[in-house]
Symmetry: D4
Subunit: 226 residues, 8 copies
């Protein structure tokens, strides 16, 4: 059972990924049929995979998988399922997930559940957008204790720059498609974050809470310089 | 001398504008030849126009106009000339012009000189970008005393939202083309400001310090409700 | 009950906003679940909030809120609910809301209801687009009496420039996404308004009637220069 | 001498075009070397071509052509040369070329010189932009007498819609790249004109005064219905 | 009954348009409620309007109007209703509507029905796209007899240029949103047509068959030069 | 029965295409009504057409055609129907279709079924995206044996460049619209593939598996140099 | 001398490329300093490389290389230098390079010189744009004899579709940045070509004559099916 | 000397930044006059600042600063000056900077010099683009030893995804504006990197080597989990 990958025809499941990249294969459910997802999970079950993330699936798909013999926990706000759960021990480190508004909740939770499933300690700091700066400033201590911060914001995306000016840890900015009109599906927040005048900020794809969670995991678990 | 406009062929000079719109005809020098600008000013001189703004001209053009008999004061940082100056009395009200960085200076000064020429009192608050929030927060008193604030910012344009959350007066946001890469000639700041989550913020064209100055003049000089 | 904000986890409700910004917290309903909206309103009810605007909600959501004990008036054309209504006294000043066509009605009404709820006197001037200029010109008196004008237009957005050339008060232009083909979701009107050759015009986000209403409120209520 | 075209290797000169399309081959000088332009003109000289338009050339190129034996009249504002001039008789019909501002002069003149060279009567109506509507309205008679109107405008391009609402003849709108910031090289005027709410308006490429002139010629010279 | 317009509050119906622009008021149904359309038609009925075009409506809306007492003929392919029909006499002139493919039918028919309702003779020439040039070349006679040609094409929009090279009459190009992928909602055909190397081509908005029909009507009915 | 085309009014069916272009007329079903598709197929049936591809149709449309007397095989993953099948003999040559992920399956199959229907031998190599390079590298032999490779990828489209660096045959890159956020409907993969630093790569439209299949057929069947 | 690559620090020269990809390493001169180009060529000289293409260099750079001991032939129209020339024998096959206008010459020649240096027989067919279709139709024989056709066109790029409908060989379309206004640096031709309704057309990057030449070489030299 | 910032009017120099953010104030020279840069440095000299980075300046500006009494080391490839150098001790950790091609050198060096000035150990791995995969694969050991990798690539930006699939450390992707045509000033690489299918990749602004260097410094110096 230590082949490099399994070939299902429509998918080649990569069993070296954990070794090579620190986390196992993840299933992006957003553009697969439920049958394809099931097929991949059945194969991973046979390979004894643990804590497999299935992102961007609905409750319906999660139910379908469960009814077909996949042990899976579904997080409806994050739209993530975690199959074949196994304890990863006490959560480590300190990842803060900050959001500008209530509307960005789904993307935030995608990041949180991803990071938590990978064994990280996550602190949620929601609805601290810059239009009410005192809400943010009252939480500076929490921000300064973080090892890495994920900033989730739609509309003008200013929160990344403001937090970027307050702390010295790495910041991962996640633009969201929340908004209307000239936000053009998240373009406004994306460009805003890419042009951040604050140092230490980098950006992932629009609505990509999962990618932010994985990257935060890597940074949070960095070993010290010897 | 109270005709509605003069017709120079290449230009029709509008002599009802002051009455209709509060300020006299302004010359956008950015896409006219120096001879056209001179011709228009000569005509206005004959009509006894005062405090005529000529925007987006170089020192060279200003010198050319002066050498051809136009009494003109040139403001090099703003790239504005003011022809046929006449005192407008003691500056009134309180317009604050805030900028995110040193690089936005030219646009700021275009706004300031425009507003000052129209008789307004202007307070400059430069380089208070959000990456060093304490610089801005130490000036909140100045912001809260303003009747109207012009916020000039390039790159991610976050300053408009942050100031928008701190005050209750109208805010005019001016995106600038300062930056590189994914700012796409000012698009990032423009979209960011249009999507501002703070109330009371409206936006003018990229680099349009002049337009901001004129609008600020109108708001600053509002009469009280009777 | 004078804490700075309440923390509901998914939302931090800002109770200093009225003091800081002139109007109380507003709920953008466009991307919240009905349960989140209800939760926020329940909390505001406990804090004795009055005249709370809930924007971009359907009749269904309004009914849901009402059936759960929120006293709310719903304006179907504006898609706005006003919770916990309380008289703001006799409407003051004079805000004109002008629109280019019948199709822009929803955005117009969002601006009108917002401004009216905040206590302003609002005059509606609908369907005065530039293709039938006599309709507009017959109303110049109304335009010239305004303290501030909101111009709502989709398609080519020319109305903002034309009105901008006729009056001397501040103009807030609201591009709408009405149209098809090369209007690209409101981009054509947005760019047109940003490039307006008329002075005194500034722009808010596409379809942002609410933002225009709040800004008009601030300008309309300006005190006179002392 | 009645071959269909001449083949110079780098160019195939179309000698059936006049018959097929009403006007002879035209040389777009904007991306050809001066040697290529000369070679083409020499060939046309041998074929006895008359009134050949050479667009987008500088005075320098015109001088070079003249010094190499090409009889050419150069119109510096239009940047057009007309080679091998021959009288086309009394100008016919009535084409009005209206422009929003002085800055659009070059594009206007490209249209005017093109139409005049083809034998049309052209009336110039410059600087009648919508910010000073009385300038335009005082000329409505001239507009209503036109058989076809070319409207040249940069920035927000509103002039096409306003004129479109005043007349019943065909209107050719020419967006120009004049402006700055969010005009994005003429995009704002282009989109504005394409979305015109006025009937009877069609659009040519940004800065394409030549194309407008040729199309106006065709419409102006339409025969009556028998 | 000769007022300049009727004011319904949500709409101002322009009763001078016919005089000013040659055709009466037209109702763009695409963004109006069925009640608004009915209200406008009832008012026009009282003013004895004839041949009123109602564009972009479904069969359902047409039925609703009919059931509420509006005499209306519905053209399902064109999605146009014509209310209060009255004979316009024998169709005049010669407008050819050419299309690149079967898929552009709806836009073609919008142009055809518009032009026919206005009293023009229309020749349909469908599915003559450039990928099978012989189909087009076999119809050159029809093209050369036209007084004006409407070319409707999606995807790469090449048909406008090819026809533009074959004829000497004015050509109105209508880009359509038909296609997928990098056609970006009609952008590819729009840009292609604007950049046409053929003379005499102008462009209307994407999918704007109605606008093309009105403009073709004006050109087709041009009087001869006296 | 050797006319150049049949004219159905809404369609002109090209019966010279096979001779001129190597393959017969193909029906793009994506924007035709089922009745139009049926009408075209009935006409082709009368002309004894064979192996007619009908692309982008649903199972429902295929059933409708079958129930109306068209002998048709439907490939649900490719969304292609093949009408009037006839053996094309033993598949020739070697076309490899490689895909980056499971999600691109539909576009891949459109390419495969097209190429197979035209008589080519096709090898499928799915889910070999660059994030697990060993999966791709283990298949280099298959890639190097191809006469032409179709690379199908969404998101960042890197696979085309990587394969382009490994082989010496022509590569046809097909960007897909699979992804979210800043992929903007396939734009990211499209631009990525157009900018490929590897030689020998050309690109077809987003999701255009059919076009890739036809082009691959032409290249695969190239005759040798004599 | 059979190492896989040489490492110059700023460049790693790939000496397996010829074996892997059919042609040797090529130097893209467009964004390298002349010293870098020289350093790479010196290294290749030591490795006995032959017929090394250096693209996008000026005459000045070519002279600099020559004066520093590099034997190089410079093609000014193509802006290509060929270093260390060696006969590749009698040109083989038949590649036609067709262009829409004289202005596309530089891109055409980049394709031609690339293909010729690689040993192919190239036929130039310039200035056969669709506005004068008879020029193109008179050359159909030449087009039908080609094994592969490169179509170079700016502006609306219609030539690719028209030729695509006339022949059965593979077509490589090269959009050029020639044009102005709404061609947006080649975007119009690019989108047009990607959306071509003709089969067998694929596209390379804007102005990428080199890439087209390399791909044409591969297709032209295809071996026959055994 | 422990004030929060100095106010030069045109700039407010932030003396708390080091404490707050780990690195001192940096001067973005790209849009400041040389006099402004000098003024800021003089002020920082008085505050005893050390190792001040001045980015995007030319040799000329560096010479001007030196001649005016600023001790500065200039790195011409990186276009960075470092003023008031002071040893930061033995470089720590391991940052790899990998680039796709020679042409990206300037951006790479901006990242390298930034990171080195901040005291990090940097390994350069240039010209390992995916078109010659063996060059990259021969360096996998170096990549796997890195604590953080900066990937610099223009054109299609595929290198970030490929490296992302090979390692488990954080990756910072820097798109560059190198390229032509459809790279649209770096947009192609930017979108490609944002859509990377590999985990652990985040992106900074186009050409922003400085930002990547600062973020890499933060990650490289992470302390271990206690």
């Amino acid at each position: 059972m230590n082949e490099a990958y399994s070939d299902l025809g429509y998918a080649k499941i990569d069993y070296q990924r954990k070794e090579r990249q620190g986390i196992g294969e993840v299933i992006y459910g957003g553009s697969k049929t439920r049958e394809q997802v099931l097929g991949i999970l059945k194969n991973m079950q046979e390979h004894d995979s643990k804590n497999v993330l299935v992102t961007r699936i609905s409750q319906d798909v999660a139910d379908f998988l469960f009814n077909n013999g996949i042990e899976i926990n579904y997080y409806p706000e994050a739209k993530i399922g975690v199959a074949f759960s196994e304890s990863t021990g006490i959560p480590v480190g300190n990842i803060v997930v900050a959001s500008a508004g209530t509307s960005d909740l789904a993307v935030c939770e995608e990041a949180c559940v991803t990071a938590e499933t990978l064994g990280n300690n996550v602190v949620r700091l929601y609805d601290v957008g810059v239009a009410g700066l005192h809400r943010l400033l009252s939480k500076v201590d929490i921000l300064r204790e973080a090892r890495v911060i994920i900033v989730v914001a739609g509309m003008e995306g200013a929160l990344a720059s403001v937090i970027g000016g307050l702390v010295s840890c790495p910041i991962i900015a996640v633009p969201t498609s929340v908004g209307y009109g000239a936000n053009f599906g998240g373009l406004s927040a994306l460009l805003s974050m890419l042009n951040s005048c604050a140092a230490g900020v980098s950006v992932v794809n629009i609505d990509n809470g999962f990618g932010a969670g994985v990257l935060a995991d890597r940074i949070n678990k960095m070993k010290g310089l010897s």
